[in-house]
Homo-oligomer: 407 residues x 2
């Protein structure tokens, strides 16, 4: 493909590309080809002789829970191995909190208005759950070290209606932030007015490094326990972006008390997860080393795409005031910060040229970025050649948006 | 194994058998061996070129929805193909009703006390969902034609707090009842005071015939529509007892309006089901004929077990007053009705001899059978030899219970 140098040239390419979501590419999915090809040889009997075809094992196949424990640095008793999506686990945990309350406390739905802190920019699907459940969202500004902890502290210490905070500690969606040890320690020790205050700890990109530095954040469950809040953290993770996006395993890790709470409520909903898929995953990945070898292959595919976006922005946007972007060290997104009032127009111009981006504002509660200044770029799914063109297209769309008002 | 002729002989056998749940036997699971063995050849590309490994298709893989439509005699647009359990779908439909309300109506959680009619004996897991959600349960007596419709009618016509009724129209768990056309037509046309009144139609045993007469109940969605209540029926079914219990596909079928409602709320919870498993199922079962051929093989394995229970009861209990049982024509259970006050003691005596039965009372709301007179027998999982001994054991435990008080 020719590299466009103006918005008009970009438009003439008549791209048809959807870059709105953080999906793995077909090449990434091929990395787990053996998971599918050898599915017929995995059989159905677990290490412990469990017939994985039948009902049961509500909290997951024991060896899948053990794999999760190894991956998340906790005991297997603290891990639930579930279906194909950690989003489901977050949704259900919040729905259970609304309907039944956290262990020992009243249902949130009977505590009057309840609220969640939402570091921004953040993950739109987190915010969608809160919005659906009627949980008021309070945006909290963030830096590359995580949320502004003085703001968080001021909110939670006197206001018992604030029941939790969304956390993406490593390679945040979409800012790529790596939350600092200090931030994380403060979250664990936070003097929250609500006894049922929770950290919804979405460790989505725990293994999704883009550089050779395999960053690691502190063990939040341990920190909370040490700070006297043993039930504060609910940790979510999944293999969706490790093996296959629609057919992985999701994990919930927390205190044993919270796992018991989960079991009590989830036991009403289901007789157990698909243990056959869990067995296949355990046999394919084997252990943490197996997973890390696989993630290195993902990295080799993804790094050039992220580099291409950053290179295009450097080439085409470096001269513009109030325009910046991050160079993520992991995760699935790049954030592009544009002058106030230009995000929506840039997305619209890209769409007119056939390139669908994440809607402007999506990374903010209720989809409202009051400054209209943030774009989420998702370079993982398209081919490298497409990413090169699309990244230039985004930059050229922004330049065109700025020119329109400068005329 | 020797066939016991007294309770003491049965006790001396020191069985160790759990017959508490309706699980398929290993031999039944073997019938779908090809689903596992050939999993590696099913690939990942759907008929329509969808990469089943990736995210998306919230309502299920199109060809899985089409299979569901064929099985349930509805349009594919009316079907959701989901995860491994219809119980989840029932739970989530009720949870959504509590949190968000049925389409066009207020959340049930904001309508004061709400109630469900529960034909008894019924399925304990239905009742557990209501109990968890705080939905008051009202027991309704049933015959082999279904619930007493005069009782149902009297309840719903003036009481808008009654929001639904649990229905198992074909081979009910645990009575084996086949609801009559008249009952079903009355349910469709019921003059319910609540505009958001719903039939929770658990068609769990739609294909699970035990005789050569393949019974069929009327299409409830169509009947409701004709009666002017197009959104009244939510139909649930699954392949758990067709292929593999822990790794099948579950279906929800309803009006397009209800499917849209489902999509709206489920879209907040997940990005989509495991389409790889759906693809494998479609390729393994192919169509309704494929499923029916498979069910005939289940029938061949199950029929002798049900016959053995009935034969043991006939041999050992025929002389007792106030003792009866049904000879089911399908489904997974036999109900044994004992003299008032003897169900719990019979279960306890069986347990003392090493045979775990479903707890007495489980088939009633809140686990309370005021007459203490019903036992649910689940003969599917054990081997035929075990079933023969166990059935005699149950009969002998009942006889012993009766003797204890006669002394």
């Amino acid at each position: 493909m020719t590299m466009p140098t103006t918005y008009d040239e970009f438009e003439q390419l008549a791209m048809r590309l959807d870059m709105s979501r953080g999906k793995p590419s077909p090449e990434q999915l091929e990395l787990s080809r053996a998971l599918l090809d050898e599915a017929g040889t995995a059989g159905f009997l677990s290490r412990d002789g469990i017939d994985c075809r039948n009902y049961g094992h509500l909290l997951g196949l024991p060896e899948a829970r053990e794999l999760g424990a190894q991956l998340l640095d906790v005991d297997a008793a603290q891990v639930v191995a579930a279906g194909n999506s950690s989003l489901e686990l977050m949704h259900d945990a919040l729905a259970f909190a609304m309907l039944y309350g956290m262990p020992g406390d009243a249902p949130w739905s009977r505590q009057g208005e309840v609220a969640f802190l939402c570091p921004v920019p953040g993950y739109d699907r987190h915010f969608a759950i809160c919005e659906a459940l009627g949980i008021r969202m309070i945006a909290v500004p963030t830096t590359q070290d995580g949320p502004d902890m003085d703001v968080v502290d001021a909110h939670v210490k006197n206001d018992a209606s604030i029941k939790g905070i969304w956390c993406m500690p490593l390679y945040s969606n979409p800012s790529g932030a790596i939350w600092s040890n200090e931030t994380i320690e403060r979250l664990a020790a936070l003097p929250a007015a609500a006894p049922d205050f929770r950290l919804f700890w979405d460790d989505a990109y725990r293994f999704h490094h883009l550089t050779d530095t395999l960053h690691k954040t502190p063990n939040i469950i341990e920190l909370c326990e040490r700070a006297g809040h043993p039930d504060r953290a609910l940790v979510f993770a999944s293999l969706s972006k490790v093996t296959v996006a629609g057919g992985g395993i999701a994990f919930l890790a927390s205190s044993v008390r919270n796992v018991d709470w989960w079991q009590r409520h989830m036991g009403v909903r289901t007789i157990g997860p698909d243990k056959l898929n869990q067995l296949r995953h355990v046999r394919f990945l084997r252990d943490r080393e197996g997973l890390e070898r696989l993630m290195a292959k993902h990295r080799a595919l993804l790094r050039p795409k992220f580099d291409a976006v950053v290179a295009a922005f450097e080439a085409l946007l470096a001269d513009l005031p109030d325009v910046s972007w991050n160079r993520p060290e992991g995760g699935y997104f790049i954030s592009l910060y544009v002058p106030k009032g230009y995000a929506k127009r840039t997305v619209a111009l890209a769409a007119e040229a056939g390139l669908v981006l994440t809607p402007a504002g999506a990374a903010y509660p209720y989809g409202r970025d009051d400054e209209d200044a943030h774009l989420r770029i998702a370079p993982t799914f398209p081919s490298l050649d497409e990413v090169k063109v699309a990244a230039r297209g985004i930059a050229l769309a922004l330049r065109r948006a700025l020119e329109e008002t400068a005329r």
